[in-house]
Symmetry: C2
Subunit: 174 residues, 2 copies
DNA sequence: TATTGACGTGTCACTTTTTACATGTCAATC
DNA sequence: GATTGACATGTAAAAAGTGACACGTCAATA
């Protein structure tokens, strides 16, 4: 369901696009919240087209198919956004890892937290570079808000890791 | 893989436990980062036992099986934590939803962001109540750090939603 | 002209996760 | 004594997601 909703959202925000375009868009925008490979996207687009949520226009020359959202598709997206209650589905291997670090010796955990923090720091710099170089979207603000959220989350992870490492080190050498 | 690692982590932190216990532990601790139903946990425990990562002790009276981590299991967890590079796998239906809000009319998006913010506020209060009532873990600090991270993330979402709503409203009534 | 790399779509096998069904025990309350 | 609810474990079908394979185009560069 989420994949389908994400695709409808991208088609709304970016206008008609091919599966290839959508795969790239996924990667460059929504990947902060959801991932999908082309091997999942292409079949889903075909299903959605069959169900009338999007239209297909085959125009090549490279066999390219351009998809556009239909009123029905827009309605589905709208209903999902408005009527669906707060979602619980959340998965983060990074948080899981951070969560499990205390199963190591304190000094090891602290070291890994420092490494994690550094890694999040790098990621943070990348995201901020993207924001600085911000290219335009068809729908203004769409990518902007999401990127802002991604930056905040990454900063949070970095700071949490840093502070938790400091806390563990403090407790250890009491 | 992540499920198995999470289970090994729980067995390390909480000591020997049944599938039932682990299901509850999952819910009450790691669910901030990963979710698993009993229908996934039970078969996985059986597989892990067959592979020697955990031991089983059938002792009833209700057919209860108690699992305990083996040295091999502890090693697997350790290797995963230390040797695995920074993970990318991250999915959040909540973030996805927030991301897609701009596909709505600004006033609708702002209204939904306010609702989201309120929802995160409630969740935040729940988490803080849990922290306040903090019961003890076998492994001290294990649950504590994770809970802290969860609280920070929830607060971040709430604040982001609130601020983004304000921003959209500000832009709209220019 | 040959190669390379972005463009472009697809399938298939496998793993992971969800949802629903299925079964039974034990302790406490009605 | 019957019901209820926490305890306790499982299976099976379906959906979602991953990784690898497979095919073919077009433009630019070596």
């Amino acid at each position: 369901m989420s994949l389908r909703i994400a695709l409808l959202g991208l088609l709304t925000a970016a206008g008609p696009a091919s599966g290839y375009d959508l795969t790239k868009l996924f990667e460059s925008s929504i990947s902060n919240a959801w991932q999908a490979r082309h091997s999942q996207i292409y079949p889903e687009l075909n299903k959605m087209a069959a169900e009338g949520l999007i239209t297909v226009e085959e125009k090549g020359p490279r066999g390219r198919k351009t998809y556009a959202i239909t009123d029905e598709g827009a309605h589905e997206l709208r209903v999902w956004l408005i009527e669906k209650g707060p979602s619980r589905s959340y998965r983060s291997e990074g948080v899981l890892r951070a969560f499990l670090l205390p199963t190591l010796e304190p000094h090891e955990a602290a070291a890994l937290l420092r490494a994690e923090a550094a890694s999040y720091g790098v990621r943070l710099a990348e995201l901020e570079a993207i924001r600085a170089a911000k290219s335009s979207w068809k729908e203004p603000g769409f990518g902007h808000h999401a990127l802002d959220l991604g930056i905040r989350q990454t900063r949070l992870m970095r700071d949490w890791a840093e502070e938790t490492a400091a806390e563990i080190e403090g407790t250890t050498r009491s």
